[in-house]
Structures are given as C-alpha cells and as structure tokens.
Amino acid sequence: MADPAVLSQLREQLRAMETQGFRRRPSLPFGLGAIDSRLADGGLRLDALHEVAGGTSDMADDCAATLFLAGIAARAWGPVLWVVRRRDLFAPGVAQVGISHKRLIYAEAADDSELLAIMEEGLRHRGLGAVIGEAKRADMTATRRLQLAAEGGRTIALLLKRPAREGSDPIGMPSAAVTRWRVTSAPSTPLPVEGVGRPRWRLALARQKGGEGFEIEVEACDATGRCALPSAVADRKAVAGGSANRHAA
C-alpha cells in the first residue's frame, strides 16, 4: 500500500492540472462519517455531475432514487431546477424531503437531448443551487458537456438515469459523472407496533472518480433531506469490548 500522504499529494497535483489551478472545491457532505470518509472529496462535489439510478427498473426504486436526489438538492443552497420528462412528481412528497415549493422550478423537456440542453443552461446560469434531470440516454459526450458546464460554479448537477431498455443497466454506460449511485428500497425500520417505519434504502456507490465504490444501508431522507444510519449500525450494542468500557466508565 502506498503512503497516503504521497497519494493525496499526487491527487492535488492532478486536480491542479485538470482545472487550471482552480483549487477551491466546495463539496456537500452527507453528514454521515461512514459515507463521507469513503468519498474522495469528503462529500458530493458541488461543481460536478452526479448520476443516480434505481437499483431495479421497478417504480419504487425509481422513487427512492428521486427522493435521494431531492434530498441532496434540498441540502444545496439555492433554487432548484428540475427538468422532467413526464409530470408525475408529487410536490407534497418532494416537499417532505426539504425542498420547499418556493425553491423548485420545473421544466418539461420533450426528449433527452432537449433535457440535457436545458440542464446545461441551468448549470451555466450560476444562480441555481441544483439542477436535476431525468434522462434515459446520456452518453459520454452529453455527460461531459454537463460536467464542463458545472465546473467553476456552485450548482450541483444531478442526473436521474433510467434504463434505456427493459433490463439494461443505466449506470453501466460510460459517463463523465463524478459519482454514480444506485438506490434500492429496502424494508423499513421495524416499529414495535403495527405500521411502516422510516423507509430505508440500500445505497450503492457504483463508481467514483478517485475512490472506491461501496454499499451501505441508510435510512431515507428526513424533512431536511438528511439520511441517517440505521440504528443497527449507529447505535448498536457494543458486542466486543463495548460493555467492558461502559463498565469501566
């Protein structure tokens, strides 16, 4: 294993070369150490493109990916442009993860190329906090354009990718996105009584620039767009050594 100091130094040099010496890279952390520590930038880079897809082609996973995106956009700073292909977003549901209806602007695109063009306009405007799009086909060229449009600004570009064909993997296509996520709905947090608890998702970071992929199960976004770690991970009983520490304290 190489020395981490050398690695980070090399990373810095590479970054300086890639972006003409522009150093400040504001990023949007999840606030969960388990995720942020494994992301190359300590969070989602604000001036970059991120792709999210549902784990399966099921509509429930599509909705999970939608809310994951909405939660990220809710934690960004300004108005949000959501470019849709069909008008089935339910605004009260989107508002429940923290995007107030006053922040959200919708635009409807007739096809994928128009959608990507609108996203690019939104990114170049520099007055938006986030731009979200729902596309089926976005190839390397299109995503590269989006990535370039996002660079230098503070507008996070989020692309919800849907399978172009039944059964195809939307994340598998080559893309210039910095991170690529796959969201699958998982059984909700068990409650001691009858009822549906807080929803959970299986997050899979399929690829990221400058880092490894990983999988983790999280609790879905709350009213401010923040995910949480399931209690089984965060507040688990200390199996080995934990009880001894407590006794000692």
Binding site: C63, P92, S185, A220
Partner: protein, 612 residues
C-alpha cells in the same frame, strides 16, 4: 288608468287570483309575480314605464341635468345589452363620496327609470329593485380615455387633447378633408367608436369651448343649416363619449355664436358657485351672458367667467395640451453589400444591440418583446421574435438570446438590412439594492427563464403552489415561474374572530403525513386484492401483473369527497393506506368506499402513488 292598475297589481293575469284571497297569498305572489328583472318603477314613474321598456337605448332628454360620465365598462357592453333587450337589469356604478355612497353613472335604461348620477345609492335601491350595481373605476376610465386619445392621435388627427374625465378635443384643422369632410368624418368616427363599444356625442365648432358646450348641452338633432363649407379656418371637434346616438353636430364656421346662445351657462365650464349666482341673477343662457357688459362681470365674478366666454366665442385663444404618442424604437442597419453568413449577422447584431440598449435607456424603458427583421434581397423578410420574462435592457442578455436564434434566419440570396424593433416595452427604473448587505443577493432567475423560454416555451416551465384540498390530485396547482412570491399573507383585523386562534395556520401539505414521491396520472386498478373489511390494509394485491405480498401497512387515511365543490362527491370516500411489501417497496393504495356503506364506493382498490 286601466293600464296603470294593471301594472300596479303584481299578480299574473289568469293566475287564479281572487280578490278576497290576496292577503293570504301576498307573500308568494310578491315573489313570483315580479317581472324577471324586477324593473319596478316608483308610482309616479309608472306612466313612463312603457316608454322606458320600448327601447333600452332610448335617448335621454338632452336637457337632462345630469351629465353622463364616461363609462367604458357600461358602454362596452352596449351591443350585447341591445340583443338581450329587456332581460338585463338596469346598471349603475357606485362611488363613495365622504360617508355617502352615491351613483357615479347610470346606463340609459337606469336613467329612464329616474336614476341620476349623484343620487344616494340607498334611494336608488329603494326605487328600482334588481339593480346591477358595480363599483366605479375612475382610474380605469381615465386610462381607457387616455388610450383612446392615443389611438385617435395615431389614426385620425395629430392633435388630440384630453379634457376632464370624459371629453376629448380633436383639432381638425387641415385634417377633415382626408376623411371626406367634417360631417362624414364625424359619422366615421362614431362608427369606429361604436365598433370599440363606445357611444359618443360629437360636435364640431370653431373653438374648443363652443365644441365642448355643444357636445355636452346641445340637442343633437341634425341641424338644418349646420352643413356649411368644409374648409374651416379653425374647426375643432369635441368628442364626448356619452350616451347620445345620431349624427354629430357640425356648426358652420362663424356660426357658433348663435348656436351657443340658447345653451345654459353651465356649458361654459365655469365654477358651480358662479353658475348658481348667475342663476339667481336671472342669467340662464349664454346669450344673455354675452349681451352683458364685460367690466361689471369681471368685477363680480372674476376673470375666469369672462375668459371662458371669450374663449368659447373665439376672441381669446385656448391652447390644447395634446397627447404625444411615443415613437416606437427601431434600430436599423442597411448594408451596401448583402450579407449572408451567420458570422456577419452576429457581428452586426453585436453593433445593433448596444444602440438599442442606448435608445431604451434614453427613454427609461426595458424591452419585453423584441423583433429582429432581416430584409432579404428578394423581399421576403425574416423575422425573429424574442420575449423577455421581465423588461430588460441588458445588452449581453439580449444579444445572447438573439444569437441563439440566428440559425433560424434563412439568408437566401443575402440580407439587405437588419432592424431591431421593440414590440413591447415597459418602464424600467433604477432597481434598489437588496435590503441586507451582509447576505448574498438572491440570484435573478429571469435571465434563465428567458433562455429556457426561447428553447421550450414558457408553457413548459412552472412552479407548484399548494392548494387547500385533501384530495391528492387537487392539492397542487401550477403557477408561473416568475410569480412574485407571496409575502406573509394579509394581516387580519385586530377584532377578527380568527385572531382568537393563536397558532399558525396549517400548511396545506401536511408535513407529518407521508406523501408519495410520484403520483400516477390516474389511479390504477388493482387485481386479486385480499383485504379484511372494514378498515384493514390488503394482504396481497397484483399491480401491473406483478403480485405483491404486504408485510406492513399504515392506514386508513380517510378522505371524503369535496361536496362543497361537487355535489356528486357528497357521499364519496377514499381510504388511503401506505403499504410495504416483502421486498421493501412502499405504495400508496386506496379503497373506494368506507367498507360499511354501499353508497360511499364500490370497495374496489387502486394504486395511486409510490413512495421512495
């Protein structure tokens, strides 16, 4: 007399009425027997009733004291009223004068029933049942008059002046022959105004004062000797959009003196106190006034009365203040050699737009619609229109929008000239700074909206607005992207009952109740549902051919039909459940009906939304 009795008695003829039974049935008869619009005149008016009913547009007597005000709303609906005939109620507008609410203007039908401007509204209500009363809108009337003056100044004569609230002066000097003489011009003008929905009183005379007096106070029968030679030295026309019909009154040159003589003194536009005093002195008409020596007149009444008299007779000048129609802004560039490449067009646009911005800045305007006209050699102009969500004179932004559309120009054999027309402009003054200096200025979305609107159109962009409704489909409404965000709402009055509740108003979208991320366009029917009645969630169901086994469920959330909006929904009930299947997928289902009463629904199950 028989007719009078017939009207006085409110019982329908042949309706089984017996004299002895009237007291017993008076109430219901009083309701059913009134005419449909309840045009019940006062007793002393009954003799006039048939006259009034004959024609709602019947001309009112010319010496009818009250001066009809300029009422575009009333006048505009004239034609429809004439078709409906007597079906429409007499219409008046009301205004508040101190503590008293009075009639601002009355339609001819209402005037025929004895309603006069200045009458108390309560008296009018008591006198005529079923009045159509609308609030007066003096600002709107003035705006209409100003726009009418602007239109006349563009089309009819260069000098148009607005006088008071209801009169326009048109200077016809050297213009009348273009419209076929004064009489014909008057008729044309009247027809044009009728098409716009105005009725007008028109008089042509040598001086503005005389024209004003004749338009307002003369009886408009076609004057016998009025058709004089059509080349006047100075002839002016006063236009009063009032209620008179018939041809205008054209006074021959030099004959306005005799025409003015029989008119009342009030036709001179003098103060009411002077008119009252003159009336007490026995001076009723302008003729009597003109015969009096001027010096005592000035000593008694001041110079104003004498000046008005001399102005009307033409011995003193009365200058007009004409309205000036704004020149449309157009920046043109002609080329010695035709251009045809996109680069050349872009280059010349780069020089035209700053000139356009300078012209806009000079007039303090911001363009909201701009049209680029490229004139081709073969005479087929190429047009590009751009719209701006907010008026702007930001050159960079305008240029960016124009350059984006260059590819839509077909240069053909070449372009001779480029012209930028401002099709619509609005005042654009200096903008204030943001109120707080310590935080970042809110980014301006308008430029983004313009850019996107040129690509996808404004209809494809929207914002959502909460609507107070529990039915999911109705809880969201669209609104424009650039609607001003609402500020806090209306502050309730200090004694309002709502003040007793101190808690903040609930948001229409209940944040505590989970709502799906996506809602199906219309609920989809579920098959093979197994559920316990009356209020259990389904155990399993099949949606789009795929079976789901339910592990957890929340509900029901009962939503009743909105009977206050649609009567048909009165009994309608939906029971919503939030369910989760064994794979962790969460759906929003509902059942029609409450499971107990048949009329609330047929117990069929639907899937309406999907949670994340």
């Amino acid at each position: 007399m028989a007719r009078e009795q017939e009207h006085a008695c409110s019982v329908p003829r042949g309706g089984g009425w017996r004299p002895g039974a009237r007291w017993a049935r008076e109430d219901e008869l009083g309701q059913v027997a009134l005419p449909p619009v309840a045009r019940q005149p006062a007793k002393h008016e009954i003799g006039r009733r048939d006259e009034a009913a004959a024609n709602p547009f019947r001309a009112m007597p010319p010496d009818d004291g009250g001066r009809p005000a300029f009422l575009p709303e009333l006048a505009r609906e004239g034609p429809s009223r004439s078709k409906l005939g007597e079906e429409s109620a007499p219409r008046i507008t009301s205004t508040r004068n101190g503590s008293r609410i009075e009639i601002a203007a009355a339609c001819p039908q209402a005037q025929a029933l004895g309603l006069r401007p200045g009458m108390a509204l309560a008296q009018a209500r008591a006198q005529v049942v079923g009045l159509d009363i609308r609030p007066a809108d003096p600002e709107g009337d003035r705006a209409h008059l100003a726009s009418l003056a602007m239109a006349l100044a563009r089309r009819w004569t260069p000098t148009v002046a607005i006088e008071g609230d209801d009169t326009l002066f048109l200077d016809l000097t050297g213009v009348a022959h273009l419209h076929g003489g004064e009489a014909r011009m008057t008729a044309r003008l009247r027809r044009m105004l009728a098409r716009l929905g105005y009725s007008a009183r028109i008089a042509v005379a040598d001086t503005p004062g005389a024209a004003w007096a004749l338009a307002h106070f003369a009886s408009h029968r076609p004057p016998g000797e009025g058709r004089g030679p059509e080349s006047h030295a100075v002839s002016r026309l006063a236009l009063d959009p009032g209620f008179r019909r018939g041809d205008g009154l054209v006074v021959a040159p030099g004959r306005h003196g005799p025409a003015l003589a029989p008119l009342p003194v009030a036709a001179l536009r003098v103060e009411a106190t002077a008119i009252e005093l003159l009336d007490r002195l026995g001076v009723k008409t302008i003729g009597q006034l003109a015969a009096m020596p001027r010096a005592p007149l000035v000593r008694r009444f001041g110079a104003a009365l004498a000046a008005r008299l001399e102005q009307a007779s033409g011995r003193l000048p009365e200058p007009l203040h004409p309205v000036v129609p704004p020149d449309p802004i157009a920046i043109a560039q002609r080329f010695a050699e035709p251009i045809s490449t996109a680069d050349a067009i872009a280059h010349w646009l780069g020089t035209l737009v700053p000139r356009l911005v300078a012209a806009l800045a000079e007039q303090g305007l911001g363009a909201s619609r701009v049209e680029l006209v490229a004139e081709r050699v073969d005479g087929v102009p190429q047009r590009i229109r751009i719209g701006l969500a907010r008026p702007s004179r930001d050159g960079v932004h305008l240029l960016r929008l124009l350059l984006r559309r260059i590819e839509q120009i077909e240069p053909g054999y070449g372009i001779d000239a480029l012209t930028l027309h401002v099709r619509r402009a609005l005042p654009l003054g200096p903008e204030p700074f943001t109120e707080r200096l310590d935080e970042e200025a809110a980014p301006d979305i308008a430029t983004l909206v313009d850019t996107l609107a040129t690509r996808i159109g404004l209809d494809a962009m929207w914002r959502n607005r909460p609507v107070e409704s529990d039915v999911p489909e109705r809880s969201v409404a669209r609104m424009d992207v650039l609607d001003p965000p609402e500020r806090g709402g209306v502050r309730p009055r200090i004694d309002a009952v709502g003040q007793l509740v101190r808690s903040a108003a609930l948001h229409p979208w209940h944040s505590e109740w989970p709502k799906p991320a996506r809602l199906l366009r219309r609920p989809e029917r579920l098959d093979h549902v197994i559920a316990e009645l009356p209020d259990h969630a389904p155990r399993r169901f099949t949606w789009r051919g795929q079976p789901h086994r339910i592990v957890r469920a929340d509900g029901p959330e009962r939503i009743h039909g909105e009977w206050w909006k649609h009567v048909a929904e009165a009994a309608y009930v939906r029971d919503y459940f939030r369910v989760e299947d064994d794979a962790g997928r969460r759906y929003w289902l509902f059942r029609r009906g409450d499971g107990e009463h048949v009329e609330t629904g047929d117990l069929s199950w639907y899937l309406h939304g999907v949670f994340g």
